[in-house]
């Protein structure tokens, strides 16, 4: 039940009909001018990625700053950052569905799209960091090859291949299944012949019959139930990539829960970064209300505190272990050559989000937008600190070295942002950014013609 002093999840006065018209209008109306500018900028950044990929394919990973001892540079930092961002989408669409949080309805669609595109960006990094990508296939994927070789399944890197590819597949089908009834809505609303044909083919003949909905509801609930343990497993496996190794700074049992919390933290920050301009530009403030922003701010605060606890435990364990390598790793992380990055990380990830305790900050769209970007930066710095400061000074002082990203490292990062935002802008232009049929179930509660005030899953 909604507490009366909170903002509503949907502005008053909407009926299933007007909700349908308003959300489908975003797709069916003329393209706004700002879209061309925004997509154009992202598309240029995407070209940078393609150029960098071509360069890397010709010359190899030597164009990056990686070398021994730091063999994992920005590629892995970016991979973990992107895959973490994806997690909020699955959390919103699966876990909040199972918990019957109706407020998730207006943000789940584009959060799922965000997941999909973030996983695409992440997958690109793991593929390209292997060096000779055309050979990577036989030791990453179990297929009968002419050499008679099979992958080594005891390695967390193999688990990672399966976890990330399963996650990408399930996220994609979950997202598409969610779209089917809305594609049928667009098929029925579209005025252009091309739109009718394309949306019609994608909707596959969906009619919204009682049988359709029944199987659909059961399938979505089961998918949500499957995606929930999946999303937890994915970042757990990603953390195993580090934690199973014996490198000081990586070899910690706190890693799985702390990585999952960090993933959700950065994911919600990204949902916030995307939804604040989106609701403004498309005039969707009635559907993505202050209630949504406040709830996301609270989740960010909670997961941010779990991350802070993770940092604290890492430090405590370094001291408590009595192991000189662990203790040196922590001292080097804070006071060593990358110390400034560590302090910046604490500022971005731990200190700034504490502002969210204040109701005034949670009610300010501008402040939330700024904090969400700060957290995004902070989470990127966290992965940099974990990957680079742990590797650059390990057991043998004679092999210590510094890692400096080259311009091609940065080109890949900027390019991956281009890939992500190009896909995101195509999505918000051609597909409904908010789940129309689920919004109808929320709007029907305020429909005076209907006495039915139950929530979206039909339960009071």
């Amino acid at each position: 039940m909604q507490i009366s002093d909170r903002p509503p999840v949907i502005a008053p006065g909407y009926t299933p009909g007007t909700v349908t018209d308003k959300i489908s209008a975003v797709v069916l109306n003329k393209t706004p001018r700002w879209w061309y500018v925004a997509f154009g900028v992202s598309f240029i950044a995407l070209q940078l990625l393609l150029i960098s990929m071509a360069k890397l394919l010709v010359l190899g990973v030597g164009i990056w700053g990686v070398n021994i001892p730091v063999g994992w540079g920005l590629a892995i930092v970016n991979f973990v950052w992107w895959i973490g961002i994806g997690h909020a989408g699955t959390l919103i669409s699966a876990i909040l569905l199972l918990l019957r949080q109706t407020w998730r309805t207006s943000i789940n669609r584009f959060a799922e799209a965000m997941t999909l595109f973030a996983v695409a960006a992440a997958g690109m990094f793991v593929l390209f960091h292997t060096g000779r990508q055309w050979l990577a296939v036989y030791w990453l994927f179990p297929y009968p090859n002419t050499m008679g070789l099979w992958p080594q399944f005891r390695s967390p890197l193999m688990w990672d291949v399966f976890a990330v590819s399963t996650y990408a597949t399930i996220s994609a089908v979950f997202w598409f299944v969610g779209l089917i009834p809305d594609l049928a809505t667009l098929r029925d609303r579209s005025k252009s012949p091309v739109g009718k044909i394309v949306y019609g083919m994608l909707a596959m003949g969906w009619r919204g019959s009682a049988r359709h909905w029944h199987n659909y509801e059961v399938a979505s609930l089961l998918l949500a139930g499957l995606a929930t343990p999946l999303v937890v497993s994915v970042h757990t496996v990603v953390s195993f990539d580090f934690a199973v190794g014996i490198v000081p700074g990586w070899h910690a049992t706190i890693f799985p829960p702390y990585f999952v919390a960090g993933a959700i933290y950065s994911g919600f920050a990204m949902v916030m970064t995307l939804s604040i301009p989106l609701r403004k530009l498309f005039g969707l403030e009635d559907f993505i209300t202050m209630r949504h922003l406040q709830n996301m701010a609270k989740i960010m605060l909670a997961t941010g505190l779990i991350v802070a606890y993770g940092y604290a435990i890492e430090m405590f364990m370094a001291w408590y272990s009595g192991n000189q390598f662990e203790q040196y790793m922590m001292r080097n992380r804070i006071l060593g050559p990358y110390g400034r990055i560590w302090f910046l990380l604490i500022l971005c990830n731990i200190l700034t989000p504490q502002l969210l305790w204040l109701r005034k900050v949670r009610n300010s769209v501008g402040m939330l937008f700024v904090i969400s970007i700060v957290v995004n930066i902070g989470m990127w710095l966290e992965r940099f600190v974990i990957v680079v400061t742990s590797l650059h000074r390990d057991f043998l002082p004679s092999s210590w070295d510094m890692y400096t990203p080259t311009r091609w490292d940065w080109a890949f990062f900027v390019g991956s942002l281009g890939l992500f935002f190009s896909l995101m802008f195509l999505f918000i232009r051609f597909l409904p950014v908010i789940s129309i049929f689920e919004m109808r179930t929320i709007a029907k509660g305020v429909d005076p013609a209907s006495a039915d005030t139950k929530d979206m899953r039909g339960r009071a």
Binding site: T15, P16, G17, T20, D21, P142, L149, W150, P151, Q152, F153, R154, M158, W159, F162, A163, T166, T169, I170, V173, F174, P181, T185, R187, D188, R189, G200, M204, G205, R207, G208, S209, A210, R211, H212, W213, H214, N215, Y216, E217, V218, A219, L222, L223, A227, P229, L230, S233, F240, F437, R440, T441, K444, D447, S450, A451, D452, R457, G458, R459
Partner: protein
């Protein structure tokens, strides 16, 4: 096995599918009645109409709504969904596949000594077994939902109903199919007009 598959994917007896009519010489298909459809303003009126039609003795009908209405599936007499069984099967197959793949490659096809671990290091095989379980079960949920809903289906007679595009906006439809043993061309039409519908029309095959 056959009876099990038969229960999962029964042939015939499905309310949504008419059998094709006899072809007339000359290639022209006669305008054959597929059913009668009535339009309602809200879910309560629709449910009321479903109950009334069932009371009247109609059995083969289908309802169309802009969002899921929970009671509708039971009211209209469709059985429980078979998606869960398919998901369970998918999950079991996925788990067996995932573990089997790792066992066979690591023990039979390409045994490798990795740090002195046993060839069958089943603990290390759990994450991939888990991922395969989720993958197969998830795909079974999606494909099962599509197959049980008979999708993709590019054409269906209801699409020719002029106001049917409102079923994806805010209107509710109930169709009694001509295949219903109780169906009589004029009588059913008049019966549906008594149910409080805003529009009633014939659906041609």
């Amino acid at each position: 096995m056959k009876s099990f598959l038969g229960r999962l994917f029964p042939r015939g007896g499905k309310p949504e599918f008419g059998t094709p009519g006899p072809r007339v010489a000359g290639g022209e298909l006669p305008a054959r009645l597929f059913g009668v459809i009535a339009e309602f303003a809200n879910a309560e009126d629709l449910l009321h109409a479903v109950h009334e039609s069932r009371k009247e003795g109609y059995q083969v009908m289908e309802a169309y709504t802009p969002y899921p209405v929970e009671e509708l599936n039971d009211a209209i007499g469709h059985g429980p969904s078979r998606v869960p069984v398919l998901v369970l099967l998918g999950g079991i197959v996925g788990a067996l596949f995932g573990f089997g793949l790792q066992y066979w490659t690591s023990v039979v096809a390409y045994p490798l000594n990795i740090g002195g671990r046993p060839y069958n290091s089943w603990v290390s095989f759990i994450p991939i077994t888990f991922e395969c379980t989720i993958l197969f079960a998830g795909l079974a949920a999606v494909l099962g939902m599509l197959v049980l809903n008979r999708l993709p289906m590019p054409y269906h007679p209801v699409f020719s109903v002029p106001r049917f595009h409102l079923a994806s906006r805010d209107r509710f439809f109930l169709m009694i199919l001509a295949r219903d043993p109780r169906f009589r061309a004029g009588e059913t039409f008049r019966f549906m007009e008594t149910l409080g519908a805003s529009h009633v029309s014939d659906v041609e095959d």
